[in-house]
Symmetry: C2
Amino acid sequence: MTDLEALLKSVLDEITPTPHEREKITRVYEIIKTRLEEHLRRNNVWAEVTLQGSVAHDTWLRGDRDIDVFVLYPEDWSVADVKTKGFELIKEAVRDVGRVEIRYAEHPYIRVFVEDVEADIVPAYKLSSPSRIRTAVDRTPFHTEFVNSHLKGGLNNDVRLLKKFMKGIGSYGAEIKTKGFSGYAVELLVIAYGGFLDVLRAASEWRPPVYVNTLGEEWLFRRSVEVLTKRYPDSVIYMPDPVDHARNVTAAVSFEKLARFILASKCFLRHPSKTFFENRVEYDLETLESSLGGRCIVVVEVESEKPLPPEVVWGEVDRVRDRCVKLLSGHDFLVYHSSAWTDDSRKGVIVVELDECAKPAYKLYEGPPFSELDRVSDFVSKHIGKSVKLWLDRDGRLMSVSRRPVLRAVELLESKQREYLVSPHFKASSPTVYELTPAKLKEIASKYGEEFLRASLGKVESWLLECTS
Amino acid sequence: MTDLEALLKSVLDEITPTPHEREKITRVYEIIKTRLEEHLRRNNVWAEVTLQGSVAHDTWLRGDRDIDVFVLYPEDWSVADVKTKGFELIKEAVRDVGRVEIRYAEHPYIRVFVEDVEADIVPAYKLSSPSRIRTAVDRTPFHTEFVNSHLKGGLNNDVRLLKKFMKGIGSYGAEIKTKGFSGYAVELLVIAYGGFLDVLRAASEWRPPVYVNTLGEEWLFRRSVEVLTKRYPDSVIYMPDPVDHARNVTAAVSFEKLARFILASKCFLRHPSKTFFENRVEYDLETLESSLGGRCIVVVEVESEKPLPPEVVWGEVDRVRDRCVKLLSGHDFLVYHSSAWTDDSRKGVIVVELDECAKPAYKLYEGPPFSELDRVSDFVSKHIGKSVKLWLDRDGRLMSVSRRPVLRAVELLESKQREYLVSPHFKASSPTVYELTPAKLKEIASKYGEEFLRASLGKVESWLLECTS
């Protein structure tokens, strides 16, 4: 066994679900399935209860505690029936099984907590062919069918390795919060390239935009890519969905998450190391604290009036972050980096590191060229009152060193809220804006948890250090 | 008489030499001329003593105290003879007339001070045609001939107005220190356009590069321009010398000085005012002092080992200024403006205003893109020791917030002298570098005079205020 093989085996030993876990997951699924089937029968509804997702594919990771259960209703039901009657049947069936939550994706579905397992139970259609798909979730059973028929000969373990690798380097997760690869995308990559290392070898050579042949037949793939590039002009990686060739499985992968995966693949192949699977960040609260003296980190906390679905709150808070960055940049602050965090519901925290927290009292204003008399006149009139020097420069342009109206970043963010509170649910919120101090740092850590600080202000993700030769 | 006519008449009344001045200038010239002629005769040299320049053209301004005397030697003398024997004859002739200085242009010449008049006495050739010119100064007698035969009907007063106007707005003076219009260029402008206001009306429509027909005949002018644009590709205004069509009289006018003249012409024509003739700057030492708290003005003083001719010292110190600006800009300082001053001999003072005197302790460094593994490796290795955050950004580029090596502008200018002390006579000098404080300001004012502070740190040239509508 080579070092690399030993390394992968050792990782696999850590991420393969234990027999105990398998037994528990199976048991929970059976409980739910039985309840659902009994309730459906009592109501004279013929529907199929199925297991989907990574548990069904046997690609889930040790420690994962979520299962996807799909209740497949007859094709002759209306969409409205599936959405209401189908949903209600599920809700009634499992109400005594555990704590129940109503969740929303395209349709409402049920999340039920049994022991420490989280089961999402989704109403969908029982269809004979993917061409008959009517709602987004109807694709899932076909995904399971495709994956289970193609992940042969232990390739499911390669999926586990690739998932863990992508988690380790921060490219895993299709939610808007992450904009990385979905579990299904990882499965398709392993199927397309034939194994964990094969995917990495291919990825290490990728140059975005990337096209992955998930369809096998070259002509099918080429035809699909033609459709996908038109339909998803902004995607950076194209992977046709084998069950729906007009759909790009990786439509939402961001450039950054793709770049991470490509770079990490290069680095891992040069220096294989467990670090890539560990999602570690060099972060130390004390070191961070002591560096604050020479840095300017500004925090903006926002809160919506009512709880929002995770996809909504992450999307909106990220938009607020983006506008904060634009506002600050527009006032001469150099934004070193910025990040957003939410509690998946109402609260958003935005962290922005700037070159400095206050700009110099005087700013250089560039005026019009000498050739435009009216604009020269306006510039002189506008600046003369606040200028300490106004002149024609070497390029024949009017210039002025004038008093700057707002010096502090915090003051700017407090006075121009309308310029960044642009997303619907945060328009009316009153943000709290402050410069990060050691005291505030501790407050955030205890209020929101260190996970966020680690991600936004940690020194470096450990895998990046493995990229040195 | 219109307001404008009254204004110009009033200016003219102030700038026309008084009879007393005329009498004195004539008297001094006669003394020098007599001495020269006697001495030449005694030495059996046949040469013509002539008056040149603005006194000869009757275009000098009240208060001007300098006359140009040319001693024209026979054409059969060698250049070396004119330069040595011709020069020596002059030196001996005037040594008792007043204090004598030896000056250098292309050739050495004599400056003699009689009463409060400064007379430059230049050895040159007596030539029958400008085509026989052998040294730069030989053109001067032909210039006088041309100007005197074309400045008819009181146009010499228009020249006085235009000179005074150009002085008032800072575009007058062909020395390297100013890079503006020479007296001869001003005379040619008045001849070409027919009067002071005609020049301003034309100039107000100029768009650089500017071509002024000083030759009359359109075909001659076009042929000359063809030659000039090739020979002076960097000029911003082309005025063929009527006595040498292949020479651009305004070759050395800088873009800035041309832009000033164009803008001032526009402004004056909209709002005629005496201000344009006054060379006033809004400057007040106390206001300047009180603004220093919020500003960063850095001063660099240099000194060459030996005295240098004015053209040399101004040229070299300006090069040092330019390199200081580049050094500071290259280290993230925003240079608001910079200026240089010299004592016309050895000392140079450079003033640079910056956004701030110290940069933040941490700087954002942009690294290579994710796709270049070796460069990524180098970047991580180089930065990890001094970084507080190193990451892959949204564009897939490595970034680091790292400790900045040099924070203060003064420290930078002290430690990197070799990068800006590039001109031959200042290479070995030890510059004095400091931030301008009220105390230092007073020191400079008393050491170098307020003229320099007025120009470099004055609030605004008053004529610019007349550009508001």
